[in-house]
Symmetry: C2
């Protein structure tokens, strides 16, 4: 199996100012193409570190992909370092110049001394065209190994990986793909899940590997195997998923690249139903999740971020007395928020959330992390109470996932069959 | 200077299913404490890889921090691997058991065979208490080197790093801290900025290093230096920032850990002003950014996600004729959205956004990425047109940043002094 190493270059990652999301994208694309990423490394903008990494990795890997350090400014040293390592001269590359001029023109920017240097390319590599920026990718071949250098700007890098690098590597190598099947669940903690599916796990065929991937509000179970070119393996994966459905069907939200927001979207589309949202403590996060799905404008009419009590009262028509007697974080308030929202937006479904995200605002009776969620339709209105904990960002995220999961169960008429947590 | 290496363990990172955000957090905390992170590595859940990494890194680094692979399930092998490497036996640890029981009780969960194993700890390490989960941290000392293993769940890991590991390392070593000063700008692309500040950059003292950190809508300039214990270095950093302010003052949004949303929040607080939002294509993302700031409920009243034209018309009172003649993405529509929003929520300021996020909905006249933004107060209403490009997620993000930046300039009365892009 062909092996790849991903190397990100940049002080900003090593001082923790920037999260390395590029490597995850590249790893996912290589993996799908059947190339195993066996290591991801982040190093400083330093010639010495770049040389040391090349010395170590060229014998160990088939493909080495660098990202970062190709900008026009003086702290970007990847290009001269690679040129020197491969005994190359930097020369003006006509195609790179053409792409650069086209890009600048599109953005109404002038050619200056700094960005002109972006068309200088080591003479011992091929360029990877960049249609969205000024830094071209570089592809060196050395003793049968592929050494590739890409800009660190995510969307520029992504275009090159998807449209150029992966197709090229796929046609150059010929390998069995790694197959994953991911089951996405919401509502059970990892240790409870592990006990519930222990018998099923024990009976898994040896060539199928199971991994638990917990994240706030969501637990993914990933089955992996290497395709041996016959369909049996794929069938076995599907059979195992069918067995699993019988055990934990109700907490399965979706599969593979599904998200809770895309699944809810599919359900609403299927029923030609519309949705509106009334958010307090989640502050627009649920709307952002729902609208991150392309095509969501078909079923999502809109939402209210009702951060203050005046808004809950004035726009969502929550009764003053209810806010006074039960408080903003209560069954009565979320119920009236959901019903007021559905009426205002004239939708089939409405979901409301009110809680204490923290860090302040908790009381003994209602500590930080207390969240009420309601869902309503012409069939009924339901409300549930959750306790998430004391981290603000996590509370907002978990409340958003729980609200969409409650809506999912409510649309399916299954809200009473399982006690989600 | 003490050197650290961060090692994440887990197939999920190497197949690109999960982005490694833990390393950035740890790197940032170590950096602030004056410990240099010189490498970040991700490896598979594999004993062989863990041993190889330890063999390589113990001679090279002073501190090695592992995250991941401490869960209760069978794919988690970090604990037995480290126990074996350091010739340790796994024994029941009374304090770990106590913490485990307290945690399970808080969550209404039962002790079972799986989570009971979480109290088994290698006898040659100290534990790092985990108050938010079942996996304790482990601290091995070997030949003067510190080898630390932490759970991969971000908030559990973070508590241990902040409250336990960093204070311990700070008291154990005694080093000069690395000082950073970051200037956050919005409105100028990297290549334009580089030319504008070229003279200033040339005159920087040799011990101050400059880095450009671009991200969608925001360009950060980071000055770094090593504190030599006297105040001169710190003063020089501040002096350089003052020089920079004279050149690019208007595009400076804030400093260090400021975000565009926290800066806008401070400005609103300073003026005792309130804000409401009317979002179309950003779908709640601006509200989510604004409410991510603790204490935002003081100035943020609420918002409308007006995804459909019915909502723009019915709730925000945009005239039917305007939507028909000029369309939802137009100066007239965002103007009426902002003014309708301000009236509805009774706030001092209101901001509105309407645009074509993509992937569909673009026309020749209004291609994907066209976004209109308006801001209004009792002083005036202003509207600006932007062209961001063809990536949905990036458009939503850049439109959100541009909207908050326009609001910032509008509050300062500076909206006509600079043409932000």
């Amino acid at each position: 199996m062909k092996k790849a190493v991903i190397v990100t270059i940049g002080d900003e990652i090593l001082i923790g100012q920037v999260i390395d999301s590029n490597s995850a994208f590249i790893a996912s694309e290589l993996n799908k193409a059947g190339i195993q990423v066996y290591k991801i490394i982040s190093i400083h903008d330093s010639r010495e570190e770049i040389y040391k990494t090349l010395d170590e990795m060229i014998p160990a890997a088939d493909v080495i992909i660098f990202t970062g350090g190709l900008g026009p400014t003086s702290d970007d040293i990847t290009k001269p370092a690679l040129a020197e390592y491969f005994n190359s001269d930097l020369v003006l590359h006509p195609e790179a110049m053409e792409l650069l001029m086209a890009f600048l023109k599109k953005r109404n920017l002038e050619l200056n001394d700094l960005n002109r240097n972006q068309a200088l390319i080591p003479n011992k590599c091929n360029i990877i065209p960049n249609y969205s920026g000024t830094a071209m990718g570089m592809w060196f071949r050395n003793g049968g190994k592929n050494i590739i250098s890409l800009p660190g700007v995510p969307f520029e890098m992504k275009e090159m990986v998807t449209n150029f690098i992966v197709p090229q590597l796929v046609s150059e190598y010929h390998l069995h793909a790694i197959i994953h099947k991911t089951i996405i669940t919401s509502g059970l903690p990892e240790s409870v899940m592990a006990v519930k599916i222990a018998d099923w796990e024990k009976k898994l065929p040896g060539y199928i590997k199971l991994a638990y991937l917990p994240s706030p509000g969501i637990l993914r179970l990933r089955l992996s195997t290497v395709s041996n070119g016959n369909s049996m393996v794929n069938e076995q994966l599907n059979t195992q998923v069918e067995y699993l459905k019988e055990i934990i069907g109700q907490v399965i939200v979706g599969f593979d690249n599904d998200t809770i927001e895309s699944v809810v979207g599919k359900l609403l589309n299927l029923n030609s139903s519309s949705l509106s949202l009334a958010e307090s403590c989640t502050g627009g996060n649920i709307a952002r999740m729902v609208t991150s799905v392309p095509g969501s404008s078909i079923y999502f009419k809109g939402g209210i971020v009702a951060y203050s009590n005046e808004v809950k009262q004035g726009i969502l028509k929550v009764q003053k007395q209810v806010l006074k007697d039960s408080g903003a974080v209560s069954e009565q308030t979320v119920t009236q928020m959901a019903e007021g929202c559905r009426l205002l937006f004239q939708t089939d479904y409405a979901v409301s959330v009110s809680g204490i995200a923290g860090p302040d605002g908790g009381t003994e009776e209602k500590p930080v992390g207390t969240v009420w969620i309601a869902a309503t339709s012409n069939r009924a209105t339901i409300a549930r109470k959750f306790n998430f904990g004391d981290n603000r960002e996590r509370n907002i995220h978990r409340a958003s996932v729980a609200a969409l999961n409650l809506l999912r169960l409510f649309i399916l008429g299954m809200e009473n069959e399982i006690n989600i947590k």
